[in-house]
């Protein structure tokens, strides 16, 4: 009941991001019981907000924000619920991306500027280690498929991977991680903390699928790996740019709701 009350308020939001979060909550068929528990939690938070004098849509937004913060806690029991079953031909070297600013800020290997980075950078510390990238349970990984190789166009890759949080005109880096012998997970809406640029994959997909920022189409495969499994690894990051050039991430016309029927 509390959740239904929350939902009726939250659905009044005109924000595309909040509408997409709501859509993700309502269209995640793979984890019924944990999702119901999460929804009950939102409803409880909403009731608390109302008791504390908060009202209407603001109370609903505050309630879901608090619930989403809980999902970023590394030890949250509602994360990593769908184990990934590797197909026979699965390659164990997967790929992740991050912007130059985050690389420089959290794993500075030497003197470089976010606005003029070298093409190759060695991490000085493990990616998403406790001190450098706190509160991150997973590293999100993708991989090329026979139908779709990795592109050197940073704008295209940001759009195809649905990286709405790094459309900033900066430079993009890519690095590889070996996941041999490690547990992998298919991301759920809880793993994604209801991220507005994310959507569940089509039914029957063996892995997650990224969502194109502008078209909403499912684009590239995605799986999750535990950050702590890579705590002794120092990856090498390379600039994502066509050979012989230094191309920044361009702008994107983001529509979080496009294609969500």
């Amino acid at each position: 009941m509390a959740y239904a009350n929350w939902l009726s308020e939250f659905e009044k939001s005109t924000s595309g991001a909040e509408q997409a979060q709501c859509w993700n909550l309502k269209n995640e068929p793979r984890i019924d019981a944990p999702l119901n528990s999460f929804k009950e939690g939102i409803g409880k938070r909403f009731e608390d907000e109302i008791k504390n004098g908060n009202v209407g849509l603001k109370a609903a937004c505050d309630a879901i924000k608090q619930a989403m913060v809980e999902l970023t806690e590394p030890h949250c029991s509602q994360l990593g619920l769908l184990p990934f079953v590797r197909p026979d031909s699965f390659k164990e070297i997967l790929i992740s991306h991050l912007p130059a600013r985050d690389l420089l800020r959290y794993a500075p290997t030497g003197p470089f500027d976010e606005d003029n980075p070298p093409a190759t950078i060695h991490f000085t510390s493990p990616f998403k280690s406790p001190y450098n990238f706190p509160r991150a349970r997973f590293i999100w990984l993708t991989f090329p498929t026979p139908d779709m190789s990795m592109t050197d166009d940073p704008t295209l890759i940001v759009k195809e991977l649905g990286l709405a949080h790094i459309v900033n005109g900066g430079f993009l880096f890519r690095f590889e991680l070996s996941v041999k012998g490690m547990n992998l997970f298919v991301p759920t809406c809880l793993d994604a903390a209801l991220y507005e640029a994310w959507a569940p994959p089509p039914s029957g997909s063996p892995w997650g699928m990224t969502r194109h920022l502008e078209t909403g189409h499912h684009c590239r495969p995605e799986v999750l790996t535990n950050s702590m499994d890579h705590s002794s690894v120092r990856p090498v990051a390379t600039l994502v740019s066509p050979p012989g050039s230094r191309v920044r991430i361009g702008s994107a016309t983001i529509d979080f709701m496009i294609g969500r029927a």
Partner: protein, 280 residues
Amino acid sequence: MDYLTLQAMNEDDLGEYLWRRLRHIQPMNPTLDTRFRTEPPESFIIDTLKTAPGQKFRQALIEAVASNLEKLLTFNPDSEGDDTRSEQLASLAYLSVTLNDERLGKLTYLHALALAAQRAREKPLVGTVFIHVLRALAKLQNSARLTPFWLDLFCSESDPAVRSMSFYGLARSDAKCAMRNLAQAVRDKQIDLPVLVWSLIEEYPGIIPLAQAASTLSQLEREKLRDAISRAGASSQVIQDFDLHSDPLEVSPGFRFTVPAPRAIGVGFKRPEFYAPIAA
């Protein structure tokens, strides 16, 4: 909080806002993106700066960063090793580089000395704070006065990222001195050489002096340096310049980079008493 609201703040309010945000004091406004990345708390401020018209906000921010750096020097002296303090200082150092104002150099130097002393007492630092403070100091120094500081650090430091940053600081302080010590940097198996040489090419001293200094290296070292330049993403023209000016047989004596006899580095240096006030 949005860009316009932040840009309208006076210096005092901005200083207080900065202090609270960089120490992660809740409520954070705007909240940090912790879902898909760990957003650095200063990112919102940097993005606000990039959209601010004129110099008013930049000047107010310089004052706010300076007051925060000053306050942090004496704040909670028993908290060495405290990760909140380290992250706050790393953020302030990062902001200082973005602001690129020499007035922040003196305060950055004081923090660098304090951190160096802390490390010398074998008290480990949390995270990447020392690197960011050194990077800010290297960028904001305005003379060769810190040359002994950089050289001492480069020769004595165990962390390769600190050694790399020290060499960078040395190159910006006294490029000739740095080039005299180029062999030591190239031989260092732990330094991320492509990152270091990229800054030497793009900032100081540039590809020609670097290549001329490389002409005194062994062939193996020159090849290692050339490979690093290539992996850093240098253009074919830059690599061609390196080849032309680093070949010992091709370099005319008149153009040869002067390399004095090696000096006893790391011994007998006197640290500068103070990073002297910068003339207005």
